[in-house]
Amino acid sequence: EAGVAQSPRYKIIEKRQSVAFWCNPISGHATLYWYQQILGQGPKLLIQFQNNGVVDDSQLPKDRFSAERLKGVDSTLKIQPAKLEDSAVYLCASRSAGGADTQYFGPGTRLTVL
């Protein structure tokens, strides 16, 4: 079975620029997560989708971050405008709605904001 796909793997931008990340979850997985992992820290949940609806986005900085999951499959996470402190790895994970709570993670996108 194919895993969670993410692109790009690496991105370098200037502060105040915009950036978008893409995630394709495991086929049939209804739940999708976006995490931010700053160097030396554990992943922090940004947003959780169930199909194409938002379950939790309490830690998403909504003034600059946005995410969508059209048709309940692929998802995009956007940052506009980026700040220096947004430098991190952005992880996408998916989970089967009927599964025993195991999340499957993609390889992540490493963002550097200069």
């Binding site: 554990g42 949940l45 959780q48 379950v55 939790d56 025993a100 709570d101 195991t102 993670f105 993609g106």
Partner: protein, 114 residues
């Protein structure tokens, strides 16, 4: 509310000696508990999980963990460390079912000396 505390930011062992990575949790409900491993520049991989079945859980690569409700602990162990075990390890707690919003610990870096 739920939380997880990984008691050591770094653990250093010699190859062939036992590994112990400590994790304590707090949860208002019966939790699901997970250990994930992250090798450099790689995605998170599930090592093992506890979901209210047997309290001693065996995972991949010779790792195991024991759920101790009285101590609210879920420590990860391995009898004999290999060089390839050097990585970052994350303990995760969640309340199963429904929205399943997981909480990550800060991580423990395992260093294995030859």
């Amino acid at each position: 509310a739920q939380s997880v505390t990984q008691l050591d930011s770094h653990v250093s062992v010699s190859e062939g000696t036992p590994v112990l990575l400590r994790c304590n949790y707090s949860s208002s409900y019966s939790p699901s508990l997970f250990w994930y491993v992250q090798h450099p520049n790689k995605g998170l991989q599930l090592l093992l999980k506890y979901t209210s079945a047997a309290t001693l859980v065996k995972g991949i690569n010779g790792f195991e963990a024991e759920f101790k409700k009285s101590e609210t602990s879920f420590h990860l162990t391995k009898p004999s460390a290999h060089m390839s075990d050097a990585a970052e390890y994350f303990c995760v707690v969640s309340v199963p079912g429904g929205s399943y919003i997981p909480t990550f610990g800060r991580g423990t870096s395992l260093i294995v000396h030859p």
